[in-house]
Symmetry: C2
Subunit: 330 residues, 2 copies
DNA sequence: CTGAAAGCGCTAACAT
DNA sequence: ATGTTAGCGCTTTCAG
């Protein structure tokens, strides 16, 4: 006497009907006599039967697993986590499950996980590309892919990004409007499209009067060091622009350390929790990760449903939130 | 001419071997002649064949999908997100994928998602129980379940929690050591085991001298209001203890609003990003969500491998981090 | 060392 | 309205 999980066959046997009738009832088809349906339901209850979606999917015509993959930089980073939550909510509304993975900017992991998801027959993939060539994905795995946060290299597909160039330019113009003429730039990984676009926005606003710049900052510690060096350098800027929250945080620490937090202005790209509770509160160009997630999910579901138009680039507006640090006069 | 995804049969045909030989090569069995294996590998490459893990799992003896489910309060909350990341890292090391879901404290969602995961044949489940009866899970779904963060009601299973009672008691004793005698309590959802345990710790440290208390605070706004009311009440405490970061944040705002942040001491349970950059920096009882995630994953994998001992309760130590707000004298 | 046949749990196509 | 048969892509069992 085995204690396997019950199958449709077991249900059919105890209900005294055929396998196919059980299948019909379980799938909610209406062409079943009420009394038979009732017997099937009773058997399902008593055996605690649960359908096997894997087996079902294998035979079904549409071959949908109702599962999507979501690959982000780091599911524990606030931006990624907010985006994740938005994707999950859209998926839940459609009864779709979400497989997640963190890439840590590692292209090998990007490829490995994309393949693992493909082998698991996820119906599609939402991906924050690492920046390496993502060409293997769309064509290779045959999965519908929507890119989010960054534009991919070597691959085409719907892409959901923030208005990075104009958002950054707006931030820098905001500083200029306060009278600043020497505005320092502190940027993250240079190979990422976001970093490059935000740098472009910085340059666009400043023209030939660009200030000192440090690139390829990885973490708050790097950023803190770089900001201290910049402010102690030969031509210290009166204001700073940072391209991502990790860098912004390091700069906040640097300004505190130098007791310059009330004399050097700061605008950071990407909002972060408690920015409004710091002294001074930090002015940011806020992204809208929830909307990015919703939008990416919507685009992916359209593709999964068969929409086959050309790749779309959807730009989600950013918002300058003046809180204090960006409104310090020169 | 159809453009299906290639199957093992297609590979076998182009390699000129039998289906079973392909299966052997794909599964890394060593009992295949080198030249046949080479032909198979070539065919796999040229067709871009990818095995179908669902079909494989269906026939396999162990019936493992190498997928686990992770159900948390809210994947975008810093605590949950950190825990998620730790689980993911443990899973990745074993080539296991993670399905995630946010429960928002909703027992219906807990049940629905647990069943959805069971239907997808996840090998196990890590769950932060909502507090409602979780009895349906372990027995019902037949899945190995490990509980995390909170102890379940009506269900047995390995459980990984913080040292909530002693952590809270330590925090309150810390305040007492600064001379405080009237210490207010601001707590989250009362039906959660964490909230109750932290309240118990608070009471244990204070004995009969417990101060004013507000329970069932849901969000920072509630907490802010409650703190303001408490400090304006007839017997305002000189120090506050909060049971979770959402409440702590609201209290920080309240103290600022009343300009009491340097005269009313505060220790919060659960650390949060930037707590050290506030003025004054916030003293907390830090949990270790990463370690909790690692531990829960390890326990789940043991269960999946067949370990069948009695339910274990694993308590992860907390750490008091004095930063300033908890060291204000009376 | 290799292959042919059976069957995992389910649904599609075709009876009846 | 119900049942029967075949087969999804794969691994198992058992034969060569």
């Amino acid at each position: 006497m085995t204690s396997h999980r019950p199958t449709m066959n077991d249900v059919a046997r105890t209900a005294g009907v055929s396998l196919k009738t059980v299948s019909r009832v379980v799938n909610g088809e209406t062409t079943v006599a009420p009394d038979l349906a009732a017997r099937v339901h009773a058997a399902v209850e008593s055996l605690d039967y649960r359908p096997h979606v894997g087996a079902s999917m294998l035979r079904r015509n549409d071959r949908r697993t109702r599962t999507i993959g979501l690959l982000l930089d780091d599911v524990s980073h606030p931006f990624s986590a907010a985006l994740h939550r938005a994707v999950e909510d859209q998926a839940r509304a459609r009864g779709i499950q979400v497989l997640t993975g963190s890439l840590d900017q590692d292209p090998v992991r990007e490829q490995t996980l994309a393949e693992a998801f493909a082998e698991r027959q996820t119906d599609g993939l939402i991906l924050a590309p690492t920046g390496a060539d993502s060409g293997h994905l769309g064509a290779h795995t045959g999965l519908p892919v929507v890119f989010v946060d960054r534009t991919p290299t070597g691959a085409a597909g719907d892409t959901v990004v923030s208005t990075n160039v104009s958002g950054a330019a707006g931030a820098v113009r905001h500083l200029i409007a306060q009278g600043h003429r020497s505005i320092g730039f502190l940027g993250g990984h240079q190979h990422l499209s976001t970093t490059r676009d935000r740098h472009r926005g910085y340059l666009r606003a400043l023209g030939s009067r660009a200030g000192p710049a440090v690139h390829d900052l990885h973490d708050p510690t790097d950023a803190e060091r770089a900001a201290v060096a910049m402010l102690r350098g030969p031509h210290p800027p009166t204001a700073l622009f940072t391209t991502q929250s990790m860098v912004t945080l390091g700069v906040v620490r640097a300004l505190r350390r130098l007791s310059r937090e009330r004399s050097v202005a700061l605008v950071g790209f990407d909002d972060f929790p408690l920015a409004d509770l710091l002294e001074p509160p930090v002015t940011v160009v806020a992204q809208d990760p929830a909307r990015m997630g919703r939008t990416a999910a919507a685009a992916l579901f359209e593709r999964i449903e068969g929409y086959d138009g050309p790749p779309r680039e959807i730009r989600i507006p950013t918002t300058l939130i003046p809180r204090g640090s960006g409104e310090l006069p020169i």
